[in-house]
C-alpha cells in the first residue's frame, strides 16, 4: 500500500475546507444575486443592456427573475411615479429576506430632473436602499460596479443576524 503524507495545510491537501458560517453563507448570497426585472424607465434599457451580450451580467451570478418571490435584489431602474409607488412597496414586501435594493439613476435616487407633481422624490421614501448609482442613465459598467460593491457589502455583514434597518424605516 502506497504510503503518502497528506499535508493538510496545503491547498488541495484534503477535500475539506474550514470556514465560518458567515463566510460560506455570504459567499453564496453574494455570488447569486438574483435581480428582479424592474425596469421602470430609461435606466431599465441600460439594465437590459447589462444583461445582454456585451456586458453579460450572468458572470456575476446575477440572473434576472420576473417574480419577486425568487429575487434577492431589486434594481429600481428608472423614475418612480406616485401612481406606481404603491406597487414598489408591494413588490418589496413580496421579496424574501435577505433582500437588497439598488437605486439606479438620478430619478430613483432623488427624483432627478423630474422635479414635478407626479414623481416620487427618491425611492428611499418608500423602501430602504442599499446602494445609490448616480447617472442619467448610468452606464452598464456603473451597474456592474454597483453590484460588485453590493457583493462586498454583503460579505462584510454577519450572516446570522437579522438584517439591520438600513436607511429609512
Amino acid at each position: 500500500m502506497a504510503q503518502h503524507k497528506v499535508n493538510y495545510t496545503q491547498d488541495g491537501g484534503l477535500p475539506v475546507a474550514l470556514t465560518s458560517i458567515d463566510k460560506i453563507v455570504n459567499w453564496g448570497r453574494s455570488n447569486s444575486l438574483w435581480a428582479l426585472t424592474y425596469g421602470l424607465a430609461c435606466c431599465g434599457i441600460e439594465m437590459m443592456a447589462s444583461g445582454a451580450s456585451r456586458f453579460d451580467f450572468d458572470r456575476y451570478g446575477t440572473i434576472f427573475r420576473a417574480s419577486p418571490r425568487q429575487a434577492d435584489l431589486m434594481i429600481v431602474a428608472g423614475t418612480l411615479t406616485k401612481k406606481h409607488a404603491e406597487f414598489i412597496k408591494r413588490l418589496y414586501d413580496q421579496m424574501t429576506e435577505p433582500r437588497w435594493v439598488i437605486s439606479m439613476g438620478s430619478c430613483a435616487n432623488t427624483g432627478g430632473m423630474f422635479n414635478t407633481y407626479a414623481t416620487v422624490q427618491g425611492v428611499d421614501r418608500i423602501i430602504p436602499v442599499d446602494l445609490y448609482l448616480p447617472g442619467c442613465a448610468p452606464r452598464p459598467e456603473t451597474l456592474q460596479y454597483g453590484v460588485m460593491l453590493l457583493q462586498k457589502k454583503i460579505r462584510a455583514n454577519k450572516a446570522g443576524n437579522a438584517q439591520k434597518a438600513k436607511r429609512l424605516m
Partner: protein
C-alpha cells in the same frame, strides 16, 4: 429606529366572489417582464380567451408637458430624450424642428446631413431593440443576444459623437452642436457593410421558425379602418395597408433628396409588422449610405456651418462667444432668459421609429411655451389594445404587445 406599518391591503382583483358568469379577471402588470415597461392590463377571460381588455397607463407619467411650460426652450431639449428613450435623437429632432418652424429658421446643409445620420442611426437602434425584446418575449433568446450585440456598435458610434449612450441630446434648436468625429464615417461604413448579413441572420433564425410563425401569423390583425380610427402611425399603419411615411409624404430635412422605399403590407398581423421592421432596417441602411456621400460632398464644397445664424434666437459659435463682446452678451441673455419665439402656434409631425411624433407648441411670445402638447405614437398604439386583444388568447397578449412596439416614456410622458 421606527418601523412604520404598511397600510396597503391585499388585492383581490384576481378573484371576484359574487360573479354570475364564468369570467376570470386577470391583472397583468404594471411590473411584468414582457409588458415593455409599466403597462397594466386588466383582462377579462372566458377560459383562455380574452373577452374584454382594459389597458391602464400612467405609471410613468412624469409631467413633461407641465415641465415644458416652466422651462425655456433649450432647457426642455434634454427632457425630450426621456420620452422615447430607445431613440432619443428622434425626439430631440422633433422638438427642434417644431421650434425652428415656429421661428422660421433654415438650418445649414451640413447640420441637416448630420441630423439625418443621427435620425437613421436611432431608427436602426430602435428597430434592433424592438427585435431583441420581442424575440425575447416570444422565447428566441439567441436573437435577443445577437440584436443587442449589433445595437452596441451603434451605441459606440453615437457615444463617440455626443458622449452618451442612451440619452443623447445630440440635436440643438438651429442645428447640431458638433461636427462628427474623425472615425465616425469609417465606423458607420464598417457597421453598414456588416448589417445586411446580420439582418439575414435574424431572418434565418425567425422567418421559417415554426414557433415564431405560429405566434406571429394571423395574430393581432388590425384592419385599415381600425388603424386609422385609432390614430395608428408608423409601422403599425403601414402593416395595415396604408403606405404613409412622413419622410416620404411631407419630407423634412433632406429626405426628398435621398432614395428609399416605404415597405408596407396589407395583412395587418404581427408577422406583417415584423417584416416591416426588418425591411425598414434595410432602408435605413440605404439612407445612411447616401448621407455619407452627402456629407463628403459637403466637406468638398467647404460647407462648415453647423448652427443657423439667428442672433435673436441662437447663440453664436463658441469661437465668437469667446472673442467677441456682442456674441457673449447675446449668449448670456439666451442662456439666462431664453429665446422668445414669436406669438403663434405650430404642429410639426416627424416620423420617429415608432410612428408620427408630433409637437404642438403654443407660444405667447414669452421665453416659456404657453402650451406644449406631445403627440406620441405609442399612446395610441397602447390604446388600440382595448379593441385588439378581445378574441385572442393569453399567449397572444405578449406577442401583440411586443409588435405594437410601445415605449412607456412616450405613452405616459
Amino acid at each position: 429606529m421606527a418601523q412604520i406599518k404598511n397600510r396597503l391591503t391585499p388585492f383581490f382583483e384576481n378573484i371576484t366572489f359574487d360573479r354570475e358568469d364564468n369570467e376570470l379577471v386577470l391583472n397583468f402588470g404594471p411590473q411584468h417582464p414582457s409588458a415593455h415597461g409599466q403597462l397594466r392590463l386588466m383582462l377579462h377571460l372566458q377560459q383562455e380567451q380574452i373577452v374584454k381588455a382594459h389597458p391602464d397607463v400612467g405609471y410613468l407619467h412624469r409631467g413633461m408637458e407641465k415641465m415644458a411650460e416652466n422651462m425655456i426652450y433649450n432647457e426642455f431639449m434634454p427632457t425630450t430624450d426621456r420620452m422615447d428613450y430607445i431613440a432619443s435623437s428622434s425626439n430631440n429632432y422633433g422638438f427642434a424642428l417644431a421650434v425652428e418652424k415656429l421661428i422660421g429658421l433654415e438650418v445649414p446643409r451640413r447640420a441637416k446631413v448630420i441630423r439625418m445620420m443621427l435620425l437613421e442611426i436611432n431608427r436602426l437602434m430602435s428597430h434592433l431593440f424592438w427585435l431583441a425584446t420581442t424575440a425575447l418575449d416570444i422565447g428566441a433568446m439567441t436573437v435577443f443576444l445577437f440584436a443587442f450585440r449589433e445595437r452596441e456598435y451603434l451605441m459606440d458610434i453615437i457615444e463617440g459623437y455626443c458622449g452618451a449612450r442612451l440619452t443623447h441630446a445630440a440635436i440643438r434648436i438651429g442645428g447640431v452642436p458638433l461636427d462628427i468625429q474623425d472615425d465616425f464615417l469609417h465606423q458607420l461604413r464598417v457597421f453598414l457593410n456588416k448589417l445586411p448579413q446580420n439582418i439575414k441572420d435574424y431572418e434565418d433564425l425567425l422567418d421559417t421558425n415554426r414557433i415564431w410563425l405560429m405566434r406571429m401569423e394571423e395574430v393581432g390583425t388590425i384592419s385599415t379602418e381600425m388603424a386609422l380610427s385609432w390614430g395608428c402611425t408608423g409601422p403599425m399603419l403601414r402593416a395595415s395597408g396604408v403606405a404613409w411615411d412622413i419622410r416620404k409624404e411631407e419630407p423634412y430635412e433632406l429626405y426628398d433628396e435621398v432614395e428609399f422605399n416605404v415597405p408596407y403590407s396589407d395583412k395587418g398581423d404581427n408577422f406583417a409588422r415584423y417584416r416591416i421592421y426588418m425591411e425598414e432596417m434595410r432602408e435605413s441602411a440605404k439612407i445612411l449610405y447616401q448621407t455619407i456621400e452627402m456629407y463628403e460632398k459637403c466637406e468638398k464644397d467647404g460647407q462648415t456651418e453647423l448652427m443657423a445664424h439667428a442672433p435673436k434666437y441662437i447663440s453664436a459659435p463658441k469661437l465668437d462667444i469667446m472673442t467677441q463682446n456682442y456674441s457673449l452678451m447675446q449668449h448670456f441673455v439666451l442662456v439666462t432668459q431664453g429665446m422668445r419665439p414669436p406669438v403663434g402656434e405650430v404642429y410639426v409631425a416627424t416620423e420617429s421609429p415608432k410612428g408620427e411624433l408630433g409637437f404642438y407648441i403654443n407660444s405667447q411670445g414669452g421665453p416659456y411655451p404657453y402650451r406644449l402638447k406631445l403627440r406620441a405614437p405609442s399612446f395610441w398604439h397602447t390604446g388600440i389594445l382595448t379593441d385588439l386583444l378581445p378574441g385572442h388568447y393569453i399567449p397572444d397578449v405578449v406577442s401583440i404587445i411586443g409588435t405594437t412596439n410601445i415605449v412607456f416614456g412616450e405613452v405616459d410622458r
